[in-house]
């Protein structure tokens, strides 16, 4: 009896299977192109310098909600400040981030105090790093990239230990290069939280981005947090706005039209 299946045939079959798998999901090691892609995703999400109005909603398992409205200004890669507009109990609080430095100003306390990125000024799933999010390129390097027909999957690694999440997996749409989903992970790849980007909206001035970000976390089972963007527009403010001394005055940046 001639042998129908020979060793070279098996090797060939395995090779073909491997090629098929590889063509379906192509792992590509990090390159300048990947860093450029991450930059594009950053720019599609936000202009480098902007102002925005966001609402944060914490939703408990029984449907009970707590809402916060924030005004935010960001400049360049490492400066961002936010002001709580409501509810009344939080009104006037402002947060400032200058690179790895973060502060919280509470009107009652009357002076800025240093906070850390892993703390949370609003409770629930969001921590301070989520609220004062800088560009991903400012904090992360692309380790590798995987592509399929419709999506990119970027594996990001924190540039230093002061970044809130050691690793991030970022899925982005190939057509508009906007994030679809982000998983925030520890150094040991343990999932901390997942962000889902939804409802792409045209905010004008060329800014087309998801208007809703839903977040859940295995650490807060059945809890959900949502960020809704009401407005975002390009704005360049002076560097002096991003200082401790200016923190009690962030409200003055809001125009009466808003």
């Amino acid at each position: 009896m001639p042998r129908l299946i020979t060793v070279p045939m098996v090797i060939l079959a395995l090779l073909m299977t491997a090629i098929m798998v590889v063509t379906l999901t192509i792992p590509v090691h990090a390159s300048d192109d990947d860093s450029q892609l991450l930059k594009e995703i950053d720019r599609n999400l936000n202009p480098e310098s902007y102002e925005s109005y966001r609402k944060l909603i914490n939703i408990e398992p029984d449907g009970k909600k707590k809402e916060y409205v924030l005004f935010t200004v960001k400049k360049g890669t490492d400066k961002i400040a936010s002001l709580f507009i409501s509810p009344a109990s939080e009104k006037g609080r402002s947060t400032l981030r200058l690179g790895d430095n973060m502060w919280l100003y509470i009107p009652n306390v009357g002076k800025p105090i240093r906070i850390t990125s892993l703390q949370s000024v609003v409770g629930g799933v969001f921590n301070n790093a989520d609220i004062l999010q800088l560009d991903y390129t400012a904090e992360y390097n692309v380790e590798k990239r995987e592509d399929n027909e419709k999506e990119y999957l970027l594996y990001l690694k924190a540039k230093n230990r002061s970044v809130a999440y050691d690793r991030i997996k970022l899925w982005a749409n190939k057509t508009d290069k906007l994030p679809l989903k982000i998983e925030c992970l520890t150094e040991a790849n343990m999932l901390i939280k997942t962000l889902y980007f939804k409802d792409v909206k045209d905010f004008g001035d060329g800014i087309v981005r998801p208007s809703v970000i839903e977040t859940d976390s295995p650490m807060y089972k059945n809890y959900k947090s949502v960020i809704i963007f009401a407005g975002i527009k390009k704005r360049d403010v002076k560097d002096e706005v991003f200082t401790l001394t200016f923190m009690p005055n962030v409200e003055s940046l809001r125009s009466h039209g808003n």
Binding site: Y53, K55, I57, I59, E60, G63, K64, K65, K66, E67, V69, F71, I85, S86, P87, A88, S89, K91, L98, G99, D100, N101, M102, N108, V109, G110, K111, I113, R114, I115, T116, S117, L118, Q119, G123, R161, S162, V163, A164, K221, Y223, I228, A230, G231, V237, K238, D239, E240, V241, T243, L244, T245, F246, N249, E251, S252, R254, S255, H256, N258
Partner: protein, 436 residues
Amino acid sequence: MKPKKNRVFVVVLIFLLFFVLRSTSVYGEDYSFDVSEIEKKSWQFGGYAEFSPVLFKLNEESSLYKLGFYDKDKKSNIKEYNFKVQLEGSYEKGISKVFIRTNSELTNSYSEWSDETAIYEGYFSLKPSSSFRIDIGKKALKWGKGYAWNPVAFLDRPKDPDDPELNLEGFIVGCADYIQSFEGVLKTLALSSVVIPVYEDINDDFGNINHLNFAEKIYFLLYDTDIDLIFMTGASITGRYGFDFSRNISTNLEIHGEFAYIDDYQKRYTDDYGNIREEVDDVRNYLFGIRYLTTHDTTFIAEYLRNDAGYKQDKMKDFFSLIDTGYEDYLVDGSHSLLNKAINIQGKYGRNPMKDYLYFRVSQKEPFDILYFTPSVSSIFNMDDRSFSLSPELLYNGITNLELRLRTSFLEGKEDTEYGEKQSDCRVEFRARYYF
């Protein structure tokens, strides 16, 4: 048995209030964002209203109990009902802004009502650019980086380490802030210049009257570290120089410190016969602290305070002896003389009057998956006489604009110690605060 009944009643009331309010909060699946929610108005108005019943268990053997209650009916505990309204309003037009904050308190204690209203802050601001701002009026500056104490807060009234986040009444000042940002290791430089006038009816509790005083704070954000250099001069009080810093060592660890040098500090004290003495010396007060967050969301705050301006144990003993002797005289012949002397100087022996203190606070964010619930324990330990306070606390702010706090404080110490001689050795306080 009556006090026990009262305690049960208070606890039941707290829980009923908690659950009724919780059940009336907003539920729903939909979320929306209306543009009217972000509309900015020229006029802004807000504040909070607060109700806090307090139950004190009195320490009938203590000196300060004798001083406070020598001519009143003896009681083992007293109830106090506090009502507080803090209002604030502002009007903004162009580069100018007017701001006012008032504080009104109504207290029922020992079957007597008392009330007090004060303007905590009220000032006019001009902000020609984001780099420059001028404020004129009554303002609390709140300098320093410490959580429980601030040795460098030369222009502020001392804060209460038992409740460090309370608003404070300011002084009437004129101040100008100038900010400059840079690229590089020095990211920010800010200058704050302050003029504080002290005249009859203007800041007359600050120091000697009929003088203008000046202070300067220079702030640097240098190598990711906040640094302040502070100077103060004027004839109302002696010269003061200060330094403070704060820095994040990692994503979950912050360190801070303050150092203050005061020229010719006048320390007034009494001997055990009620004779007032005075010492003049240069003093060096300092503080060092950390704030640490664990992976389980437990926050630790620890601070050490060296209060060089404070009293040694023998001076404190003299004060307590004066009260005890005065109380015995009162019992024997009704004489108030020594007790009045003690009352007159009591303010000098007020909050944390001795030299070395430790503050410790541990708080757990949202344990057992209870959102917006923060239990904590804080303690102040007097290292000189080994007396201390220990305050467990439950805080819930899950209902929009409502904050509920239940707090108990135990004061422990031997005879002639700071906490051992306080009026009460235990207090239970419930506080409901509604923001609007």
